[in-house]
Amino acid sequence: MLHATLKQLSDGLTSGKFSSVEVTQYFIKRINDLNKSLNCFISVDAERSLAQARAADALRAAGNAQRLTGVPLAQKDIFCARGWLTTCGSKMLSNFVSPYDAHVIERFNAAGAVNLGKTNMDEFAMGSSNETSFYGPVRNPWDRERVPGGSSGGSAAAVAARLAPAATGTDTGGSIRQPAALTGICGLKPTYGLVSRYGMIAFASSLDQGGPMARTAEDLGLMLNVMAGFDTRDSTSLQRDTEDYNRDLTKPLAGLRVGLPKEFFAAGASADVIKAVEGAVAEYRKLGGEIVDVSLPNMALSVPVYYVLAPAEASSNLSRFDGVRYGYRTSDYGNLAEMYEKTRAEGFGAEVKRRILIGAYVLSHGYYDAYYIRAQKLRRLIAQDFVEAFKTCDVIMGPTSPSTAFKIGEKSGDPVQMYLSDIYTIAVNLAGLPGMSIPCGFDSGGLPVGLQIIGNYFSEARMLNVAHQYQLATDWHVKMPPGCEAFKS
């Protein structure tokens, strides 16, 4: 079971090789043994998970099983799940038990999947290292002195360390892809609007998108088949026909036009990362791909544009955390203003406060035009670059992150350095495009490197095909971090 993919677990459940209760117990045991040293999970509730597993087994016995019935999955703690503590990595929600299910959780429940627990994350998804979590940093299974990336670091580390066969993540500026790259797993951020945001605690509404994290492209497709779909409760959700995202997995890649933006390979990424990515590109050439040079001239602007728009939206989205109706409230206050000030001063961490301040500043009277409006205009230019690029290629490839996993504490004192770790991923969110990361090698220190694949709008099936064919030809994705085989760490 240790190395089983989601697909293999699903097949094993179908053939009766094992039951959902057995699989769930297996992963709960792994969590119990390894989570202390990795800190992947904020909440685990074995009883609740096993109850779901028993229900799944009953469903199967009655002949009503679907593809993911009975498989255990980890859920990022940004998704509201009824009856579960849902903290978003923040002290502010450290006492918030959600009374309702997010759309994504509803879909997994309806599919009969088992919730293994809620994974650790940067506070309100603001961070690229998982160090901003109120619940402490997640450790990278490949090197426990290093970060797993963020903000979906708990999900990434849990999947890499085989504490869960797959997990959900959310990606506002790279929060699925960058931790996937840093932990050697696969992660997909779908086209904006494909996965409902209902019940996914908002960071930056126009950029946030939920997506799957798993060890193979095929598993991502199985997850996305459940997660994607129109939801009337999210006005930005897109009404489209249902599709099987794994329908094209086996298509050969002959004639695939792979666009390489020169900006992705200019100075900035480490030599090891560039080497691994170039190796992957060579592999694609072997698989029948043809390489096309493309350019994303405005990509350099994506980090500053993002750090105007995302904090602007966040400053407003996080206003509801005021201590009035739920969540943390300061214990000692004399009046309303003091209640607000102390609640928010004590309830939010430093990075969240920094972004609220930036956001309030760029939206304030007299600065709005210079920052917010200009950033919106540039956002359109950045998206237009991709439209141009996709006229000559089918997918764009490059590094996911400029470096492999960095040390805990290495960048936490320097926000700008931290922000730059998302330089290759942010533009994709600004354009609303789908992007994914798959493992494509290791650096000289043995840390995984991620290959980023960016597709055109709604080309998820094609991207999964592109990733799957690579995974048939290579074995980077089956490597396991050292020290994760044993039950005791």
């Binding site: 998704f79 509201c80 849902t86 978003c88 929600l93 918030f96 959600s98 009374p99 309702y100 997010a102 945001r197 209902y198 019940g199 996914m200 605690i201 908002a202 930056a204 509404s205 126009s206 009337t232 409760r233 999210d234 006005s235 930005t236 602007a312 939206e313 400053s315 407003s316 996080l318 206003s319 509801r320 955390f321 005021d322 009035v324 109706r325 739920y326 309303l336 607000y340 309030a360 939206l363 304030s364 009277h365 709005y368 917010y372």
Partner: protein, 502 residues
């Protein structure tokens, strides 16, 4: 110095949708606190707004009714500020691109017509309520009202007196009910005004510094608040002071306005487009649909009443003061027709007089009677008028029937707790038959009674012959009394005159 008063109004009209503007919770008034607040209204983490199409249709309806431009694309923005009854920490409103722009309303101030230009009307959500009593020193929050749809209707600074402002507010109040987008219930806060007031030396163009008086929920308070504020501003300036731009509250108990917050304390609302809501696009189809369902507007109806029904302007104005009255009047006219008559030959003057004088009088007897709650149906009233016109009963009997039915309707309604009409169309004829209400038009019968009356009232006859006209009325009264009011009054007049002249 002579001063000119300049007033602009911002009115919040609560739109009459069954559910809230961005959630499915009910908008019904008066429920237990927080029982009509769903996850979205409570602003739980992760929830999202979904726009109620009914609110959009009502805003379009209003825009069309005032001849405004309907923006085919408008934007919802977030207005950010912290307050405990504002659950999200921002209000979703429209800022730079509202759904309705421009338009105007023509209102009657005394006998002159006045046109007030509208700046815009935009959709927004209401906040909850803070309850400062009964919570042992703490403040209670009721979020039932949070998310209720509002249309904020903003005028240009076109009004020059409290009377003009009140006339506009009343006309607007009638219009929103007429087009059925707001119930207009001012006690429940469904229709409330903010007044922007400034003064300037008469004959000058530059606007003075304005003060905004918030939340005026009756026409009387609107009038008194403006009048107080005008006096205050003139006094301040004449004493050599300066008006400070600020928000003020009107205290009806003390009849004065008080400073609430000055411009310096004003919030920076940090407006920006709400990323949870796509720009609101209005299709040609929706626009056409709303337009086709728009009722005839008061101005059009008034014109038609004057031109087609040959009513006076005053009558037409009174009858079009509300949609219900106008509809009632037309219903009465329709059923007042005699066999073979077409609407064109109806006695509109007579019907108008019944509705304006008799029905209105009965309506006014009851406080808090909803404007649509006529105690007798328009069909029944029309039928009574028909029988009068046919000469079957006289007008006095007819009006007695109306009052009788009305009181019965009132009684039945009070018993049932609902609204029940008194009487019914057929009952008019049943009562005429069973109680012998038909008027006596038999000339010889009347002549005999007249002879008796003349004989028994020698003094009055002498007085009349001596030139006292009043004595004639007294004699008519005697004849009517003798016939229990059923004699045809015209015939009584004619016969009496003839006999007295003999």
């Amino acid at each position: 110095m002579k001063w000119e008063v300049v007033i602009g109004l911002e009115t919040h009209a609560q739109l009459s949708t069954a559910s809230k503007i961005f959630s499915g919770a009910s908008t019904a008034f008066g429920a237990e606190p927080n029982t009509q607040a769903c996850a979205v209204d409570l602003a739980l983490p992760g929830v999202l707004p979904v726009l109620n199409k009914g609110a959009v249709e009502r805003a379009i309806r209003f825009g069309l009714a005032v001849g405004a431009k309907i923006n085919r694309r408008s934007i919802f923005a977030r207005k950010n500020y912290f307050y405990p009854d504002l659950p999200k920490g921002y209000q979703i409103s429209q800022y730079e691109l509202p759904i309705v722009e421009g338009g105007s309303m023509t209102v009657l101030v005394g006998d002159t017509e006045k046109t007030v230009r509208l700046t815009r009307a935009h959709l927004e959500e209401d906040a909850g309520k803070s309850l400062h009593e009964d919570h042992h020193g703490a403040t209670g929050i009721d979020l039932n009202r949070a998310g209720t749809p509002l249309l904020e209707i903003v005028t240009e600074p076109d009004m020059r007196s409290s009377a003009e402002a009140v006339a506009y507010a009343k006309a607007l109040h009638a219009l929103v009910r007429w087009i059925d987008i707001c119930d207009g219930n001012m006690q429940e806060g469904s229709f409330r005004c903010d007044a922007n007031v400034s003064v300037r030396p008469a004959g000058t163009d530059k606007l003075g510094t304005r003060c905004e008086i918030k939340n005026l929920n009756s026409f009387r308070f609107l009038e008194k608040a403006i009048e107080y504020e005008v006096r205050r501003q003139i006094e301040v300036i004449e004493d050599g002071g300066k008006i400070v731009q600020e928000t003020r509250l009107y205290d009806p108990d003390k009849d004065e306005t008080r400073s609430m917050r000055s411009k310096e304390d004003a919030h920076d609302y940090r407006y920006f487009p709400d990323p949870d809501l796509l720009p609101l696009e209005i299709s040609e189809k929706l626009l056409t649909e709303v337009e086709e369902n728009l009722p005839e507007l008061p101005q059009q109806k008034k014109k038609r009443f004057v031109e087609n029904y040959r009513l006076s302007l005053t009558e037409a104005r009174l009858l079009t003061s509300s949609y219900n009255i106008a509809g009632y009047f037309e219903g009465v006219a329709k059923t007042s027709l005699m066999d073979g008559e077409s609407l064109g030959s109806a006695d509109f003057k007579l019907c108008a007089s019944w509705v304006i004088n008799d029905i209105a009088a009965k309506m006014n007897e009851e406080e808090n009677l909803p404007p649509w709650a006529f105690r007798v149906s328009s069909e029944t009233v029309g039928h009574i008028i028909r029988r009068v016109r046919e000469g079957i009963i006289n007008a006095k009997t007819g009006k007695e029937l109306l009052v009788r039915f009305w009181d019965e309707g009132q009684r039945k309604s009070a018993q049932s707790g609902g609204y029940i009409h008194g009487g019914y169309l057929q009952q008019v004829d049943e009562l005429i038959r069973d109680e012998g209400l038909s008027q006596v038009s038999d000339g010889s019968a009347i002549e005999k009674i007249v002879d008796d009356v003349i004989q028994a009232n020698a003094q009055q006859v002498a007085d009349f012959r001596a030139g006292k006209e009043k004595a004639f009325n007294s004699l008519v009264g005697q004849v009517m009394k003798a016939t229990k009011g059923k004699a045809n009054p015209q015939q009584v007049n004619d016969i009496l005159k003839r006999k007295l002249a003999e």
